[in-house]
């Protein structure tokens, strides 16, 4: 795994330059959106722009001191995405006379602060490995919270909890804790899992007892689908598990088993639960008048989203010139439709390219880092961002059934922002270790990767610690 060469340069100045560009995009988008107001350059505009710039600067400075070699592209991309999202949410606020942008801005600040805190607390991502099993317990608690008396049911899905001043989706955080658990568990046990098992044709089948993580993955995904009635999160969790198991084992057979299991579970869900079959029906028959006009499981939302996208066409109507407010949840689940309407296909291509770059940098980090835990974590988290984009954007464009997921960094929603900014911090931490000049061995304050040493003689994994 030392076949990926990384030039050990800090590149913090590149980051600073890119940040200026990203802030320029974000702040001008916000300005354009407010142009119709009586005073677009009001104090709120200056406060928000100032705080966003200050937070970005603070983040940058922390990176200079704490993670000097961290990837220089990730932070500017995320600032740009978050800023464009804020502008669009504010734009829809102006149309609907709401104040979602204010709380989104607050959450952005909180999320960035939390992300900075992660960078300050954890010097090295391998410290997270200590929390492998704690993460499992935390995940279970987080996933069960919405089912407790604290939980809230909104639009049929029970994925929120009441935290006094607002609502929170614990599942977003569970994404991270589950990724940590799987990374820890699989990096520790992968060699054992890999060696045992029968070979049937080209497929190396796993031993039955090694299927445990698969079963956990399946239970969590199906559980979320059944008890929380949240198809999107269910798909997301399962995709996360699959990619991590695949990366850990490099065995297609595992992925096939996983897909078979989820296909069975999904098929049963379609048969048993109306919310799933309605989603499927409103996807396939979106333009059927009965489906469009019905009360429950109507295709109204997705069709309105398509109208919005079509209205934008190639070049978009321009910020503030379209009618994205006609789409329900235009500032959260359907923000891609809103962006597509006003920025056009070209604008969305740009946004999606930012996501592609972000995911690619995350994957690059996974390739470049030397430890299995870091590889699994970076790859799993990056892939989750890609999968989340696919599920939500595919849903909006009617490529797949629409599920209620946020577009990372863009949609209104505090929990999603918080979780994704923490993911950014983790990716930056891992990239720091991937790109740092390789003079250090295992860190003093982290557990030595004993299992890896032991199994290292047998597999190529040995190089990740010796490199």
């Amino acid at each position: 795994m030392s076949d990926v060469l990384t030039v050990s340069k800090s590149r913090r100045n590149v980051e600073a330059l890119l940040l200026v560009i990203a802030l320029g995009v974000a702040i001008s988008a916000n300005l354009i959106v407010g142009l119709d107001k009586e005073n677009p350059l009001d104090s709120a505009f200056w406060t928000q722009s100032g705080i966003l710039a200050a937070l970005a600067l603070a983040f940058h400075i922390v990176l200079r001191f704490r993670a000097k070699y961290a990837d220089p592209v990730i932070l500017p991309i995320v600032i740009a995405l978050n800023g464009i999202g804020l502008a669009m949410i504010y734009r829809i606020d102006l149309a609907n006379d709401t104040t979602v942008a204010e709380s989104q801005f607050l959450w952005t600040s909180v999320a960035m602060a939390a992300s900075i805190a992660v960078l300050l607390v954890f010097k090295d991502h391998r410290m997270l490995r200590r929390f492998t099993y704690i993460s499992l317990i935390a995940s279970a608690v987080l996933l069960l919270l919405p089912l407790s008396p604290l939980g809230l049911e909104i639009n049929g899905a029970r994925i929120w909890i009441n935290v006094g001043f607002g609502t929170f989706q614990p599942g977003e955080i569970a994404k991270i804790t589950l990724a940590i658990f799987f990374a820890g568990y699989l990096s520790t046990n992968r060699d054992l899992i890999l060696l045992a098992g029968k070979k049937v044709g080209p497929l190396q089948l796993p031993r039955f007892k090694d299927l445990a993580p698969m079963v956990v993955a399946w239970l969590v995904s199906i559980g979320v689908l059944i008890f929380q009635r949240d198809l999107g999160s269910s798909v997301l969790f399962f995709g996360l598990f699959m990619v991590m198991i695949y990366v850990a084992t490099s065995r297609i057979s595992w992925v096939l088993i996983g897909l078979l299991m989820i296909a069975a579970g999904g098929f049963a869900a379609i048969q048993l639960f109306s919310h799933v079959s309605l989603r499927i029906d409103s996807w396939i028959n979106a333009f059927d008048p009965d489906v469009f006009n019905r009360q429950a499981g109507s295709s109204f939302q997705v069709v309105q989203g398509l109208f919005g996208l079509a209205n934008g066409g190639l070049f978009g109507t321009g910020l503030g010139e379209g009618r994205p407010d006609l789409v329900i949840y235009a500032n959260s689940d359907m923000i891609i439709a809103a962006l597509g309407e006003e920025l056009g296909l070209i604008g969305l291509f740009g946004i999606i390219m930012l996501f592609v770059l972000l995911v690619s940098r995350g994957i690059r980090t996974a390739l470049g880092t030397r430890d299995g835990f870091g590889k699994l974590l970076a790859c799993g988290l990056s892939f989750t961002i890609a999968l989340q984009c696919f599920v939500v954007m595919g849903g909006v464009t009617r490529l797949i059934p629409l599920t209620g997921l946020t577009t990372p960094f863009m949609s209104a929603g505090g929990s999603s922002l918080l979780a994704n900014w923490i993911i950014v911090a983790i990716l930056l931490l891992i990239s720091e270790s991937a790109r740092r000049p390789a003079v250090t061995g295992p860190m003093k304050d982290s557990f030595p990767d004993r299992q890896d040493f032991r199994a290292g003689n047998l597999t190529s994994g040995s190089k990740e610690v010796s490199a």
Binding site: M1, A310, G313, L314, R323, L326, V359, L387, F390, G394
Partner: protein
């Protein structure tokens, strides 16, 4: 592990590629179809923020957009609302647009290709985009006269047009409504108004009776059968047809009678001139039997039956039924049974007869004017089809003049002008009759075609409201 990570990356890239493909499909290839979807009210909502062009009659705006203080910037206003409601239709936020407001939407909103140059100029000058104005062929005096000739509370339509050009001079229907009630920006109020209007008997704000209502034509349909008879070559001015007071309808107990108080009883056999003059039913039923259903249907189609067209507002297809039994064919020949026509269709039949058998396409729009009132395009008369030979048309005209001079349409006669005409009374089960007059003048050089139908009336009232009204309308047009 790295190989698997790379594979994961490829999967991620594939997912993004799929999304980009789907977006391209929706935003580029399907964009137009989605924009045209009936459920899509975006273009309407966007249009509301625009300075829409006016609809003009003789230079005066009957529909225009005036600045408003609300979020839409402009409010659509209808001047003389009731008089022109069925032509303009309405332009509503909640319920879409209808009639001219709908079919001329591209021109009025400025999206039409004809306005490309203006849009470019407006783009660079920074001026508000303004749509084109649509100038109608309507003559405001004739329109007003036609309006006055339908008593309030009476359901009916009048169409006046030029046979040589197809230009519509007047198109009026009652009951009418005030489109301003439906053009407001307060959706709640508009919905209430719509509900109230929808409860008026005989009125639908969505529909122009002159072009979209299908009514039984009664004896005016005999013009079509007479045309078919002449065109077939089997009948001419000398043909004598038996004219019994009651015609036995084979296979039924019923008979088809001539009008009991009419002049038909004077002759035991009738030629076509007499049969038209007195509107005798039994000869026409027998002509239809002789010609057969197909021949009558083909002639009706030559006049435009069975075809939906746009003038540019939508005109419903008039109907001649198919697969008729002998009794049904006899009934159909006199415009009963399932024969249904629009008032405009009967004007077209007469226009074709008046215009030597050549049917011109009816037309409501004279010209498009750019925001600076410069004419962008003017409409040209367009031949729709050859409905019949000139000889047959002239023969039929002669007989129709006789109807006005000596027959059932005497009240339409004008001293010094040869008027050609035909009356009709259609019995509609469950309500009063439809009274018709259709005709044109002057017979030797037709300038004006009139089609009048009064619905749900008794025979005496119907007679009063048709032929005498036609005379006034013809006089008004000829005196211009």
């Amino acid at each position: 592990m790295n190989q698997a990570i790379r594979s994961s990356w490829l999967v991620a890239l594939a997912m993004f590629t799929l999304v980009l493909g789907a977006l391209t499909f929706v935003q580029f290839f399907e964009a137009e179809a989605l924009a045209d979807n009936d459920w899509n009210n975006r273009s309407l909502l966007q249009d509301f923020g625009k300075n829409r062009g006016s609809i003009l009659v003789d230079g005066r705006a009957i529909a225009e957009s005036v600045p408003s203080d609300d979020e839409f910037n402009y409010q659509r206003v209808y001047n003389e609302p009731n008089l022109y409601a069925h032509l303009t239709g309405f332009y509503s936020l909640a319920n879409g647009a209808t009639q001219l407001e709908s079919v001329m939407a591209d021109e009025l909103s400025g999206a039409s290709d004809d306005l490309f140059y203006d849009r470019i100029v407006q783009l660079f000058s920074g001026a508000q985009v303004k749509g084109a104005s649509v100038e109608l062929t309507i003559d405001p005096e004739i329109q007003q006269l036609a309006w006055d000739l339908i008593p309030d509370g009476q359901q009916g339509s009048i169409v006046v047009m030029e046979p040589g050009t197809g230009n519509v001079l007047a198109m009026v229907s009652k009951p009418s409504y005030d489109p301003n009630l439906l053009a407001g920006h307060d959706t709640g109020v508009v919905m209430e108004n719509l509900e109230e209007l929808s409860s008026v008997p005989g009125l639908s704000p969505y529909f122009n009776p002159a072009t979209q209502s299908l009514v039984a034509p009664g004896s005016v349909f005999k013009l079509v059968v007479a045309a078919a008879a002449l065109e077939s070559g089997d009948f001419d001015a000398d043909s004598e047809i038996p004219n019994p007071a009651v015609l036995d309808l084979p296979g039924t107990d019923a008979g088809l009678p001539n009008f009991i108080n009419g002049g038909c009883a004077a002759r035991a056999t009738a030629d076509l001139e007499f049969a038209l003059e007195q509107s005798c039913n039994t000869p026409f039923a027998q002509i239809a039997w002789e010609l057969g259903e197909e021949t009558v249907l083909e002639q009706a189609q030559d006049f435009g039956f069975g075809e939906k067209f746009f003038v540019p507002v939508e005109v419903a297809a008039s109907q001649f039924p198919a697969e008729l039994s002998q009794p049904a064919l006899a009934q159909s020949a006199i415009g009963q049974f399932d024969v249904r026509v629009t008032p405009l269709q009967m004007a077209m039949v007469n226009a074709a007869i008046a215009n030597d058998g050549v049917l011109m396409k009816p037309n409501l729009v004279k010209a498009l004017r750019a925001p600076d009132l410069e004419r962008i395009s003017a409409s040209e008369p367009e031949v729709l089809r050859e409905s019949m030979s000139a000889d047959s048309a002239n023969q039929l005209t002669e007989w129709m003049v006789n109807v006005v001079n000596n027959g059932t349409a005497r009240a339409a006669a004008i001293p010094g002008v040869e008027v050609a005409g035909k009356t009709g009374t259609a019995e509609v089960s469950g309500q009063g009759d439809n009274a018709w007059f259709t005709g044109f003048a002057p017979a030797d050089d037709p300038q004006v075609v009139v089609s009048i139908v009064m619905q749900n009336v008794d025979i005496a009232t119907g007679a009063q409201l048709t032929s005498p009204s036609a005379r006034q309308l013809i006089e008004a047009v000829l005196n211009k």
